[in-house]
Structure formats: C-alpha cells, structure tokens
Symmetry: C2
Subunit: 267 residues, 2 copies
C-alpha cells in the first residue's frame, strides 16, 4: 500500500461531503475519492442486510480504485456495515459513529446525551453501544428523524415547516433535559442553526465530521500510511446516478471545490 494512494470516502449520497470536506481541510496532502450512491439513496429507511450489501459493493469498487483506507461517511452505513468491512477489507476502515460518540462524551457536562439519526441508525443502537463503551453510566435519549434528510435536500434549512418538524422530533429531548445532542446523520450539520435555535443555548451540538477527520489522521499516522507533506492531492467525485444533479446539490455541502463528477453504476 502506497502512502500516496487516495483515501476512499463513501456515503449513500451527498451528505458525506460534510465529512469529505473536513478530511480535505484537516489532511491537505491526502488525495480523496468520494463515492455517493445516489442511484440507491437513501440508506436510512432500508434494512441492515441491504445497506451492508450496498456498502460492500462500494468498498470493493473503492478497493479497485487503489484506496489505502476507507472512511464510511454515513451514519447508517457505519451502523450496519462497519464491523463487516473491518473484517473483510485489508485496510483501515473508519466510521462516523465512534468519533461522534467520543466527542459527545467529552462535551457532555451533566451526563445526558441525545442522539438523532435515520431510522436505520437509531434502530441499530450503534450510538448507544459506542457511548456506553466509553461511559457506561451516561443517560442517552434517542430519536429517529426521517423527515430531516428530505427537508435538507429540498433546501428548506430555514423554513417554518422544518422548524415545526424539528420541534416535534426534539421536544422529548428538551423535556428530558439533554445537555448534548449528536447530529447522527451527515445531512444534519446543514440544520445546525435551526436545531440550535429549537434546543436553546444550553445544549452542545456534536457534528461528527470534524472528529471523523481527526480520527482518519490518527489512523493513517498509526498505520504509517499518511501522505508525504509535499504531496499534491487529487480529488475525484463519483456518483451512481446523474452526475449533474450530484454536482448541483453537492455545492450546497462542499462549497466550490468540486470540479466534475464521474458516474459509475454498481449492483
């Protein structure tokens, strides 16, 4: 495995770009290949078996592209496929759940963490397991929020309807007096301002993108796989459906750094 090989980052669609952006920012010498499975998005409502099958297909495709490590930049895919990919792939695999859990435990002041995510992520119990592995006695309140992803994709990040939906989902968290909320889906950072407004100033919001990028840096260093500090990175973005749509929606997540998108059908 060469140090100059790219890092593979994948997601069910465009949400994982929030993680890719942090990887690019924190590891400026690493090349990145991003794969968004836009032909089969979303993963959130789908079964563990199906999400695992899709994740394996993508990991195997990224392996063919010569990546040295894979970041699963999707909470649902991490919840259902991290263990399997770690067993099956011969390279470091980084998920978003453990870094998010670690950041939440570090941030929590009164020991009550809330977690929101897709139906699949919440049902899997992955965050509860990861948080309790660090801090067995902490209180955890979880809630699946299936409507937040479509609202972000519609661009209604400040719409009154979105506020109403967020209030409905978050009221039990407010009532339960959580002190920290894990944004357990890579789409949610785009709703950070609105969620902060609904929850009030006393609740810390945890967006796992930053922590995941830091974890990627540590993992590559430990495995002696980090790029040389004079390396000139390249970025490739690949989607399984219409590249143009990915490019347009992707700008909302990544800002301006995406020059082109390739298409690749899987399955």
């Amino acid at each position: 495995m060469s140090n100059s090989a790219p890092v593979g980052v994948f997601d069910s669609g465009i949400g994982g770009l929030t993680v890719a952006q942090e990887v690019i920012r924190q590891l400026p010498h690493e090349s990145v290949i991003y794969f968004g499975d836009t032909a089969r998005v979303p993963y959130g409502p789908k079964s563990p078996d199906t999400v695992r099958r899709y994740s394996r297909e993508i990991a195997s495709f990224l392996n063919e592209q010569g990546v040295k490590s894979i970041v699963i930049a999707c909470n649902t895919a991490t919840a259902h496929a991290l263990t399997a990919l770690r067993q099956e792939m011969d390279m470091p695999i980084i998920g978003v759940v453990e870094p998010g859990a670690r950041a939440a435990v570090a941030a929590s002041k009164r020991g009550h963490i809330g977690v929101i995510g897709t139906a699949g992520t919440i049902k899997s119990g992955a965050y509860e397991r990861a948080i309790r592995a660090l801090e067995p006695d902490i209180m955890i309140t979880v809630r699946a929020c299936p409507l937040l992803v479509p609202l972000v994709e519609e661009g209604w990040t400040e719409h009154e309807a979105t506020r109403l939906v967020a209030k409905e989902y978050l009221q039990p968290m407010i009532d339960a007096e959580i002190d920290t909320l894990v944004l357990g889906c890579t789409h949610y950072p785009l709703l950070k301002a609105l969620i902060a407004d609904v929850l009030g100033p006393d609740v810390r919001l945890i967006d796992s993108a930053e922590e995941t990028a830091a974890e990627t840096a540590r993992t590559l260093a430990t495995a002696n796989l980090a790029a040389e500090s004079d390396a000139d990175p390249t970025y490739r973005f690949i989607a399984s459906d219409d590249p143009l749509q990915f490019l347009q929606l992707g700008q909302r997540f990544l800002g301006g750094t995406m020059e082109g998108v390739e298409i690749r059908t899987l399955g």
Copy 2:
C-alpha cells in the same frame, strides 16, 4: 399467453398499492403479482436513465413470473419507462399518467388543470404531453412536491407540518385558480383530505388509481386476456428489501388483505 395468468403491478415501493387495490377491487377475478422496489426507493429524485434501468429489471422479473400484462403503478416510472417497456415487452403495458390525464380533462370545468408529482415526473413533462394530446388548449400548472412522499411514509397525513408544506407547494395553484388537481404520485391519495382542505371545495382532485384500474380492465378485454369469471384469484406481494417493513407500511395503503410478503433482490 393464458387468461388465467396474473397481472403484474410494480412501483418504486409501497405507493403503487393504491393502484393494486383498485385493480383487485375492479377486477375481482384477476390474479395479481405486486413488486415494490423498496431497496432502491424512491424513484422521484433519480435520473430518467436510472429509473428506466430499474423498471426494465422489474418488468423482466415479472415476465419470468409469467404475467400477461404489466401495470406501472408509479408516476415517475411511467414518465421515464412506459415508452421503452411498450417497445420492448411482448404484452400490454399500462401506465398511470394517461388515465390520470384523461380523468382530469373530463373533470375540468374551467379548463385549468394543476399537476403535482415527484421531481422526476414533473421534469419529464409527461402529464403536460398526455393532457395536451387530449385537449391542446387547456391551461396547466405543474409543481414538484418532493416532501409529500416522506411525510406520507412518516405517517404524518394530518400533521400541522404537512399542512404547512402542502400550503407552500399549492399556493401558486390556488393563486392561479386551477379547477382540477391531478395527484400525480401514488402516495398522494393518502393526503387527499388534507389537500382538499388546503385547496377548498371548488377544486376536483384526481387520483389516477381508479382510472388506471378501469384502463387495465379495458386493455385486458380488448387483448382477449381477461380472466374467466369463475377464476379464483391469487395475490403475491414481493419487495426488494425487508418484507416485514413492507408489510407494516403496506397495511396503511392496502388495508388488511396482505397475508405475506416475499423478498427478491434485483440488480
């Protein structure tokens, strides 16, 4: 082709059950095989090429199961794949767009029809073409409503947030004084009461399920493919993802008649 062969009905997921239900009600002697592509749902935001590829895979699977005719019980799949499937398959193919357009033209009193649907259906222009083929001078106002499907799947058919979303989408239709609205997505009939309330009593709502079932009856009769009047029908429901979830969500659409769901992976 045998008259006792089943009719194939397919959709991206569970929405097409509103059509299957009408087929079963209006054609009580016809056997039905329903396929819901729950592993790749939704089709609405996806590209024409991808939706066509998925539709071909499903049609070919239904053909292997021995169906005598196929009903595309999904507006997006009809918009992108009806023409291709009619060319490629050696059996009658019925879509939901033409029947809906016909019902709308018949119902419209002042000649101004509104159409709501997924991004894919609206972008395709399929309803405009079908309506103008019947009545070239009619006024048509269209609008993509991507959030309505997730709201129905969340079960929020009477929620205040859904009302707010529907108002935002439909206000231009109200301002434009449409007299008829085509519910151009098989999920929308579950929002009929709320949409009627938002639009007021003067706007006729067109749900293409009834018309599509009637069209299926005419097509089978014309092709000499109708089941014998003493035939004992059988019903099979197949999903590409978790059958249990399909069964649970399916009850909301079909009432109680679904006994079991099989699973079949495509692609």
